[in-house]
């Protein structure tokens, strides 16, 4: 594990692709690495206090409620911008021609540029993973003829994307429309010591999981979902029930970081914190969170099998698992709050 420090002199090199578990944290981590600031994906995710849970029945996606296991899109980018006082500049466009021109201009200056786009219109995605999710993040780091050089953090290798396809993906309309959003680090990055920031970020995240005064966020949100699962029809209209529990798993992130994945990511952050702050208690709690992540995986496996009919539908089991997870998570955050 590399120990991140923002105090060394930045070194500029050719852009290097880095694979990550989550798109947004991966993009900003790669952009920072390029600026000579080696903050890991987990560090970026934790510093911006992005772990969360939300179950919002009023917002529908394909007739199903919104379930999120992390904060809203762009939270990580904005969090990093304020924490590190990054000169991170965001630009949106009304016309797609302007958007393209500006992107080309920045790429020709040799800057890697972060983009928001739809998943569906990106041809390099496997066919069966393409859904209409408009808040995917990726990096363009150059162009050649009619193609952009793309570093998509969820893929193992850099790839290419034709100009027309990328244009379409950047300018789709609808929910979370990207409006051609680009972002890049503009100018010298101030030297910030991250160590004093770590405790505050952990406390903030604990607050969001425990004390936000609405019933659908954080641990209370998990309990709310648990109650909803119990009320699903178990006799007739089974199709809806199957889809609903499948949807809970799918929402663990469209392209699979997973509710569990975010827990592991945060546990990795706690581990880095434990080294930087010289606090062995955080390492213990990191392992505890890992165990919670494993339980999320177990829940996902049961839910997926039930939704496919490979396992008998057992709603009380899912209800129990979710409630148990809520209990364990809330105990963990209470301990975590005391540990920092």
């Amino acid at each position: 594990m590399s120990v991140p420090s923002a105090t060394t002199e930045p070194v500029k090199t050719a852009f290097q692709h880095r694979q990550s578990a989550h798109c947004e944290s991966g993009v900003i981590s790669s952009l920072l690495h390029h600026e000579g600031i080696p903050l890991s994906e987990a560090m970026v995710f934790g510093l911006s206090a992005s772990l969360s849970f939300a179950y919002i029945p009023l917002v529908k996606i394909n007739e199903m409620p919104l379930i999120g296991y992390r904060m809203i899109p762009r939270w990580i980018l904005k969090g990093m911008k304020s924490q590190l006082r990054l000169p991170l500049r965001f630009e949106k466009f009304k016309s797609s021609a302007d958007g393209r021109q500006r992107l080309d201009e920045l790429l020709d200056q040799g800057r890697p540029v972060g983009l928001q786009s739809s998943v569906f219109f990106l041809p390099y995605f496997p066919e069966n993973m393409r859904f209409h999710f408009n808040a995917h993040n990726l990096i363009a780091y150059g162009r050649e003829g009619n193609e952009y050089l793309i570093s998509d953090p969820v893929f193992n290798a850099p790839t290419r994307c034709a100009l027309a396809d990328l244009q379409r993906a950047r300018f789709v309309r609808g929910a979370l429309a990207p409006k051609g959003l680009i972002y890049y680090i503009d100018g010298p990055v101030p030297k910030v010591d991250i160590v004093p920031l770590l405790c505050g970020a952990i406390k903030k995240n604990c607050f969001m999981m425990l004390h936000v005064p609405v019933p659908f966020v954080g641990c209370p949100g998990i309990r709310l979902l648990a109650r909803r699962v119990l009320k699903l029809p178990a006799q007739k209209d089974l199709e809806y029930t199957h889809r609903f529990i499948g949807h809970i798993v799918r929402m663990q992130e469209e392209i699979g970081t997973g509710g569990a994945g975010f827990r592991f990511l945060y546990a990795a952050y706690l581990q880095e914190c434990s080294v930087l702050l010289n606090n062995p208690r955080l390492q213990e709690l990191s392992l505890e969170l890992t165990a919670i992540g494993d339980e999320w995986r177990e829940f996902a496996l049961h839910a997926a099998r039930m939704s496919k009919g490979r396992e008998d539908l057992d709603l009380p089991l899912l209800h129990g698992l979710l409630n148990d997870l809520a209990d364990k998570e809330s105990t963990l955050y209470k301990k975590l709050k005391k540990a920092v």
Binding site: M1, A21, F131, H132, G174, G261, Q283, T290, R305
Partner: protein, 130 residues
């Protein structure tokens, strides 16, 4: 998750791609491993794909009999539903619902056809064809 629990074989759904996952090695340190796709995740994605395919097939049969529009078929084929299509075109849902019927679709003006084709990433000819 431990490194030996990570699926090695890349699932057909991922077309040879592998994903980064965080695992704990035997010393309790987090490392990044490459996963061929978790069973849970692959299953539910397949289910979602199958759901749209089923709706598309159903719409296709009805469109052949003239009971619905090719628009409905293409919408489901391209993994959209009515609210998604409405927000992707910027039209009211009741208008979209009307345009999805065979009669509503046949009365569509060229500019609206263009708008639907654009949102679905098709040409107007492709949109009209089944």
């Amino acid at each position: 998750m431990r490194p030996d629990e990570v699926p090695q074989e890349s699932a057909p759904l991922l077309e040879g791609q592998r994903k980064a996952v965080y695992v704990v090695d035997k010393d309790g340190h987090y490392i990044i491993a490459q996963s061929g796709g978790d069973e849970a995740e692959i299953t539910v994605t397949e289910e979602a794909v199958a759901w749209f395919a089923k709706l598309a097939e159903n719409a296709y049969q009805r469109a052949l009999r003239g009971e619905t529009s090719p628009l409905e078929y293409h919408m489901f084929r391209l993994r959209m539903d009515e609210p998604t299509l409405a927000s992707a075109t910027g039209l009211w849902r009741w208008r979209v619902r009307r345009h999805l019927t065979a009669k509503g679709f046949s009365n569509l003006k060229p500019n609206l056809l263009e708008r639907y084709a654009d949102a679905l990433g098709l040409t107007v000819e492709q949109l009209k064809k089944l």
